[in-house]
Structures are given as structure tokens and as C-alpha cells.
């Protein structure tokens, strides 16, 4: 856990150099999401004991959010811990920073639609024509979370972060299969696709982006990371397990 905390602080130091995070840092600390929204993971997931130490008394993650509001933070934390639960293979989603990855992706250029053609007219089109919403990814996320929570309140009586594990599973499966639709919201499946993509990115992208903390995603699959000088290894490791230190960009910068 020591390394984990160290990494978070290091990461925070780096993030403060960025303007969005710097502004947040200068403001009074927001109330940690857990205080008004019981952390959903507490229901069935114990502290990440596989790291050999209990979770820190106060989560440092709330201070690192740059885009998501409190309700959205609770949604995303519940989402990533549901999709990536703790087990022998890895800590849970929030413990490897997937929520932070998502927040920072939405706060940055991609989230703000920097490469998205944003001129109208806006028409729904057909699926073969791809993304056609008048929303940046950050706007889609915000609208999608609001609509998802509204759906969950209507269906289960509580917002997504407060419903039971089995209800979350049912809701997400319905979203993926196109069975859940949002009234007056963005198309539910488009939201799901974006959401799912960002969870996977947060798990498997280089840790410089805030997720895949301690290279936990890469370690699950044995992806060795960025140093790859395999000229000699093609034959040497043909049909043999390749084992090497997993290295990220920061490890060798």
C-alpha cells in the first residue's frame, strides 16, 4: 500500500501542474463521496487485502477529480468497482485508478471533443454512420449518468451507486443489450459504449493517465509494457512463457 500511496501523491504532484487540477487543488476540499453516498463496494468487497494492508482511512481520490461532480464520482466509482472487482488477479477498479483515469480523460482534450467534428445539422443516422450526437464525450458522460441514475431510481428506487450488486449487474447488462432506454436522454447504448471503452482504457492504458495503477491491468495479462527489444526473443521465447519486469513510461523516463 505504501507504494500505492506514494504513486498517488506523485501523480497528484504531476496533476497539479495541469491547470484544471490546479484550480481544484486551490479550492476547499470537497466532501469525500463516501460520506453522503455509502461506498457501494463495501457491500461485498473487503479492503484490498491482497496488497497486504487495509485501505487508507481517508481516500485521497476525491481531491484528484477534475471534472465529475459528487453524484458522478459516486456513479463512476460504483461502476468501475463493479466491472473490475477485487480478486486474486487485481485490486478493484477504484484502487487501480480507473475512476481517476475516466475523470481526467473527460476533463482533457478528448473529453472536450478536440478531434470531434461538431458541426450540425444533427441527425440520428444509422449505426453504420457511427457517432452522431451533438455531445462531447464529457457532455455525453454527464447526461448519461443523470439518465442512468434516473432510470435506476425509477426501476430500483435508488441511484446506481446505492442499488444492490445484482441490480447493478442487471442494469448494466440491459444497457449493453439495448434493453434499457433513457427518456429524453442520450441513446443508452451510445452511452454504454463510451463508458465501457473508458473503463477498459483506464484499466489498460499507461499509468501516466491515472489508471492501471501499479500496472495492475498489464500484470493480469502479462503484458510487459513499454520496453520491448525482442530481436533475440522471437526464437528464444517461441512457445515459452515470457517473463520480464512490467515497465511503464514513467518507469523509464
Amino acid at each position: 500500500m505504501k507504494n500505492d500511496v506514494f504513486d498517488r501523491r506523485t501523480f497528484l504532484k504531476g496533476a497539479v501542474a495541469g491547470s484544471a487540477a490546479a484550480v481544484i487543488g486551490a479550492l476547499p476540499q470537497p466532501v469525500p463521496a463516501q460520506q453522503d453516498a455509502p461506498a457501494p463496494a463495501q457491500q461485498d468487497v473487503p479492503a484490498p487485502t491482497q496488497q497486504g494492508a487495509p485501505a487508507p482511512a481517508q481516500s485521497p481520490t476525491s481531491a484528484t477529480y477534475a471534472y465529475l461532480n459528487l453524484a458522478e464520482q459516486a456513479f463512476v466509482e460504483a461502476l468501475v468497482d463493479h466491472m473490475v472487482p477485487a480478486d486474486a488477479l487485481s485490486p478493484k477498479g477504484t484502487d487501480i485508478g480507473i475512476n481517476i483515469y475516466i475523470d481526467h480523460a473527460l476533463a482533457g482534450g478528448w473529453g472536450k471533443g478536440e478531434r470531434l467534428y461538431m458541426q450540425g445539422p444533427w441527425k440520428p443516422g444509422v449505426p453504420n454512420q457511427g457517432y452522431q450526437l451533438p455531445l462531447t464525450p464529457a457532455e455525453l458522460y454527464r447526461a448519461g449518468i443523470a439518465a442512468a441514475n434516473a432510470f435506476c431510481v425509477k426501476t430500483y428506487g435508488k441511484s446506481f451507486d446505492k442499488i444492490a450488486e445484482s441490480q447493478r449487474e442487471e442494469f448494466l447488462l440491459g444497457l449493453q443489450a439495448g434493453k434499457v432506454t433513457f427518456e429524453n436522454g442520450p441513446p443508452a447504448r451510445v452511452f454504454f459504449t463510451t463508458m465501457y471503452q473508458t473503463v477498459m482504457e483506464g484499466m489498460f492504458s499507461d499509468p501516466i493517465y491515472g489508471g492501471n495503477r501499479n500496472k495492475a491491468g498489464w500484470k493480469i495479462i502479462g503484458f510487459p509494457g513499454v520496453i520491448a527489444v525482442h530481436y533475440q526473443n522471437v526464437e528464444k521465447f517461441r512457445d515459452k512463457k515470457y517473463i520480464a519486469d512490467t515497465l511503464s513510461i514513467a518507469d523509464v523516463s
Partner: protein
């Protein structure tokens, strides 16, 4: 008002493979050449060094080296009755931007297209009769032959450091190479890369079926190499960050390490980056072009660059777009079938299977563009009787890894949940124990697959976007079904623990990445009624305008296009140097 620059001999629009080759060749011929590149300058040392270049999120997910669709994109639809809508972000194909273009982030597969393509209509009519080719299939002979292009393929392969094994040297079949390839004067400059386990297993299975596997030729230097121009390549490190990435080892044949630096050392050459060409200018007669208009995208200033010769060397789609924006040649109309600009847009098709082998170690992250093995038994093999299956064209089948980076590549068997503990366990189990077999198929031209200008949507310069109308036809579906069947046949024979079979792609979607092999739109041909350019890629309308790129392909083969794109660039350079300069005018009588 636009600032008028001093006239030069040649202006090149776009500085990737073709622009780089022409810049080098024509400056060496003593011509004053200005290249206008809409992106910025990039170099290996400054932009593609480790560890920053090893960033899947940045280069694959976020398209760092690609064109920015916020500024310019296309509208897309499957057929003329649909309303086309903008491709709001990249997906199906990835045009490059900046110095080096897509030549930086390709994976290096370099093929020689043969008379099987260049004489497509004659060959099929001769063997199967005129009625075999569907009425709406607008294929035609290209007006060029393999024999004419052979020395230029050779030149490109030696310049780009292609690793491979010849299958046919001057008519003598070579063991270990592709026995179906057309005769070549000599072997590749470099031996093939070392194959990986997946290629090896596929190769054995293909041999057991009586097929003829061979290492896929690729511009990944299998050992350190100095090309005939003196450009130095490092040896490929099988790093697994190939397509979408610049190569930090200078092992991937790319224009920014070969032809472009040579041109840049020549005092006859000037490069202007961030120079976005908006129009090719014509004189009053409409029979000559006089230069181009461009905007400096760093400050919005507009310029006019007069030139005696204009070369369009941008990405294939953008070359066609510029022709339509500049009103040169008659736009194609699918109803009357009159006009040529925009005609015969083609793409590619494919089908793939995932094979899972408990207990094997594929190490998919140890890979390169050239670790694959292919078979051509359903492609260049003319003994393969298409008549039994009713299609025109062919497909390759291959295996191996180009890259297997974890955001995009995490194969799991069908029925695996998409998240949760079971998903994690399956992801962990299969990442290193899965391989794939894929086919890549040709797309024949069709009357209703074409480009024109969009009536509604505009780019950052207020110009109409290009509109792409495309879908697969029954011909591709028949071929795709056959390809899927053959892929699955080979896959089953390998006795995987489990496998996800290949299936045919029946309708084109802009969403998932498929291939950056967009061809046609300003096709080459034998006369101005059926084509936009002659066999020297010279515009039939304006003799001092040349269009260089896959936009001149009359249809699309199963092979990757860069081999003939590079060869045609050298071929055109020769035609300009040796023929056009002596007597400027049409090189082929109309």
C-alpha cells in the same frame, strides 16, 4: 488577399511516401520544388523515441498521428438513397497527417500487384465470358502492365528496406517464397523477419491443406540496412508497437528517414509545413493548372503558389477531394454514369477467426508488421476457379501478430462476460494463449460506390466535405463467405481448445477500424471517357497536373496498396523527368 509567391517548377501537395519520392527525384533532376504539407514537421529523434512513443492510448485510441476530423472529414452513407452524415471521428480508416504521412504509421506490408489486377476485365471475360461480370461492376483494365512496373517495384522495395522471400525470380520458382507471384528481377533486399509461433502454426496447417505459405513481405528491416540512397535502417526489434506508431529504431521503411531527408538536403527543395492547400488553380483555357491556393494554418494567411507542374500527393481521399473542390474534370454521376472524378471508390473486405489454445505461449507482444505468414492460393493463383463460386477477385489468408496492445486486443471466447471476475479470469487466461487467422479480400468497383461533394456539411475552410457512398455488393459477400469457410477450415484443422469462427462482413460501417486502404476516385485508364488520368498518372484534362496515390487504382485488390503506390510514384517521376520535361504536353494522346 492571398499573397502570390514566386513561381516554381513543381509544387507538391502533401509530403508522405509519394510526395517524398517525387520531391527527391525531381529536385535531383534540377527542378525547383516546393512541398506544401498541411501538418507539421516530425522526426524519429524528436517524435518517435522511447518511452513516449510506446503509448497505446495516445497513438491508437486517440489517433495522435492522424488527421483531425474536427477540421476536415467526410460524410458517409451506404447507398445513394441515404442521407450522408459526417464521420465525426476516425474509425474504419486512418489517414495520416504531417511530414511522412501514413508512411510513418503503416505496418510495412509491401506487395506487388500484378496483371491479375491491371488486366482484370480482359482476364475474367476471356475465361468466363462477358456475362460473368455483373452489369453494375465497373471494373476495367488499368492501361498499365506488370512488366512496365517491375523495375519500379524493385526500386521501391530496395529504397524502403523490404524484408521477404522471393517466390519467382525471372520465371524460376523459389522454394519458401510465394509461388504465385509475378516474376521479379531479383530477391528482396532483406531476408524475411523471424516468424512467430502463430505464423508457424498457421504455416504448418496451410501446408497440410496443400496450400503454399510464405512470409509476408514487409518494410520492417530484418537486419541493419543501408539503402541505395545511403539511408540507414536499424534492425526491427519486434517491439509490437508498429502500425499506428512511428518506429524509434528506424527499422520501418518510412519517407521521413529515406526520401524526404535527401530532398531536404537539396537546395532545390523547400518544405512549407502547416500549409493547407484548398484549391488547384486553372488558367482561362481550363487545359493547364497554374498552381495552388493554400492557407498557413498557424495564422490564417492565404497564399497562392504558382508552379509549372502540380503534383497531388496527399492521402488518396484528399487528392480526389481537391479535384472536386477545384472543378477539374467532370464529376462522376452514378445515374447517367457520365463523368470520371469520384468514380470507382473501393475499399477492402475481410474475415477473421480467433483460435484459443490452452497451454501455448504466443507472446503476442513480440511482433512486427512482418512476422506474418500468408497464402495466395485464393488470390494470385489463377488455377483457383472463381467460376465455381461466382465472384471476381481474390483474398489472402494469413496469421501472425502486428501488434497486440491491451486496450484494443484482449481476445476471449464467445460467451465470456464483458466485465466482472469471470471476464478478468478469461482475459488473463487467453491473452497469451490466443492467435488469429485473417483474410483480406479485394473489392471490385461498383457503379454506386463513389465520391462527390456533400451538399450540406463543410470543413474548417468552409468548403464542402467529400461525400463517400459505399457498401459491399453481392460479389464481395460471395467471396467473403468463401474466405470465411476456408479460414474456418484451416482453424478447425489446428484443433484449438476453442475458436471463434470467421464470418462475412456484409455491410460497411464507419465505426470499427478495418483498413486504411481507400482506393479510386481519380482512376487511371486508356482514355479520358473512362478515367481521370492516363497510365503516367497525368490528368487528361490538364497535362501539367499529376495525381499520385491509390486514388488512381481502378479497383482494390486483397493486397495492401503501398507497393504499387510507391512503384507508381517512381514511374511517374521517370515519366516527368525523361519525357514530360522535354516536351510538356499529354504523354498519351487522348
Amino acid at each position: 488577399m492571398a499573397t502570390k509567391m514566386k513561381e516554381v517548377d513543381v509544387v507538391i501537395v502533401g509530403l508522405g511516401w509519394t510526395g517524398g519520392i517525387l520531391a527527391k527525384e525531381l529536385t535531383e533532376a534540377g527542378l525547383k520544388v516546393v512541398a506544401l504539407e498541411r501538418g507539421g514537421m516530425r522526426s524519429t529523434a524528436n517524435d518517435y523515441s522511447v518511452p513516449q512513443v510506446r503509448d497505446e492510448l495516445r497513438y491508437v485510441q486517440r489517433h495522435d498521428l492522424m488527421q483531425n476530423t474536427a477540421k476536415d472529414t467526410l460524410t458517409i452513407r451506404n447507398n445513394p438513397s441515404q442521407e450522408a452524415l459526417p464521420m465525426r471521428r476516425l474509425g474504419s480508416f486512418l489517414p495520416g497527417e504531417a511530414v511522412g504521412g501514413a508512411g510513418v504509421h503503416w505496418s510495412g506490408h509491401t506487395w506487388r500487384w500484378t496483371d491479375m489486377e491491371f488486366k482484370v476485365r480482359s482476364l475474367y471475360e476471356q475465361r468466363y465470358g462477358k456475362n460473368y461480370i455483373p452489369a453494375d461492376m465497373t471494373i476495367q483494365d488499368w492501361g498499365i502492365t506488370y512488366a512496365e512496373l517491375e523495375p519500379y517495384y524493385d526500386k521501391f522495395e530496395y529504397m524502403a528496406g523490404v524484408s521477404g522471400k522471393a517466390g519467382n525470380i525471372r520465371g524460376r520458382i523459389q522454394s519458401g517464397g510465394n509461388p504465385f507471384e509475378a516474376p521479379r528481377a531479383r530477391d528482396y533486399p532483406l531476408p524475411p523477419l523471424t516468424t512467430v509461433l502463430a505464423s508457424h502454426m498457421f504455416s504448418e496447417a496451410a501446408k497440410n491443406h496443400g496450400y503454399h505459405p510464405f512470409p509476408r513481405p514487409s518494410a520492417n528491416a530484418s537486419r541493419a540496412y543501408t539503402n541505395p540512397d545511403g539511408a540507414r535502417f536499424g534492425a526491427c526489434q519486434y517491439c509490437g508497437f508498429c502500425a499506428r506508431f512511428g518506429c524509434e529504431a528506424n527499422a520501418k521503411g518510412s519517407p521521413h528517414i529515406t526520401v524526404i531527408p535527401i530532398a531536404m538536403r537539396n537546395p532545390n527543395f523547400e518544405l512549407r509545413t502547416h500549409a493547407w492547400v484548398t484549391k488547384v488553380l486553372k488558367d482561362a483555357s481550363g487545359k493547364r493548372v497554374t498552381g495552388v491556393s493554400y492557407t498557413n494554418v498557424l495564422n490564417g494567411e492565404e497564399f497562392e503558389q504558382p508552379a509549372a507542374i502540380v503534383l497531388l500527393c496527399a492521402y488518396a481521399i484528399n487528392n480526389v477531394h481537391l479535384m472536386l473542390l477545384s472543378d477539374i474534370g467532370q464529376p462522376y454521376d452514378p445515374v447517367s454514369q457520365q463523368g470520371v472524378i469520384g468514380k470507382n471508390y473501393c475499399y477492402q473486405t475481410g474475415a477473421g477467426a480467433n483460435l484459443f489454445f490452452e497451454g501455448r505461449n504466443f507472446n503476442p507482444f513480440i511482433s512486427a508488421g512482418g512476422t506474418n505468414v500468408s497464402i495466395d492460393d485464393f488470390n494470385l493463383n489463377w488455377d483457383f476457379d472463381r467460376g465455381n463460386h461466382g465472384f471476381v477477385g481474390g483474398y489472402t489468408i494469413g496469421s501472425g501478430f502486428n501488434s497486440a496492445l491491451p486496450i484494443g486486443y484482449r481476445p476471449v471466447p464467445r460467451g465470456t462476460p464483458s466485465w466482472g471476475k469471470e471476464w478478468k479470469a478469461a482475459t488473463a487466461k487467453w491473452y497469451q494463449t490466443a492467435m488469429n487467422i485473417g483474410s483480406s479480400g479485394s473489392v471490385m468497383a461498383n457503379r454506386y460506390n463513389y465520391y462527390d461533394l456533400d451538399p450540406t456539411y463543410r470543413n474548417a475552410f468552409g468548403q464542402p466535405l467529400m461525400r463517400m457512398t459505399f457498401d459491399y455488393t453481392e460479389n464481395e459477400n460471395k467471396m467473403g463467405r468463401h474466405a470465411a469457410e476456408m479460414v474456418n477450415d484451416i482453424a478447425k484443422s489446428m484443433n484449438p481448445t476453442t475458436f471463434t469462427p470467421a464470418s462475412v462482413r456484409t455491410s460497411w460501417s464507419v465505426v470499427p477500424y478495418q483498413s486504411t486502404h481507400n482506393t479510386g476516385g481519380t482512376i487511371m485508364g486508356t482514355n479520358p471517357r473512362n478515367s481521370a488520368v492516363n497510365k503516367y498518372l497525368q490528368s487528361w484534362d490538364c497535362h501539367n497536373l499529376f495525381l499520385i496515390g491509390a486514388n488512381v487504382f481502378v479497383h482494390n485488390a486483397s493486397y495492401n496498396p503501398t507497393g504499387p503506390v510507391g512503384a507508381l510514384a517512381y514511374w511517374t517521376a521517370d515519366a516527368i523527368r525523361n519525357r514530360y520535361l522535354k516536351n510538356p504536353g499529354p504523354l498519351v494522346p487522348a
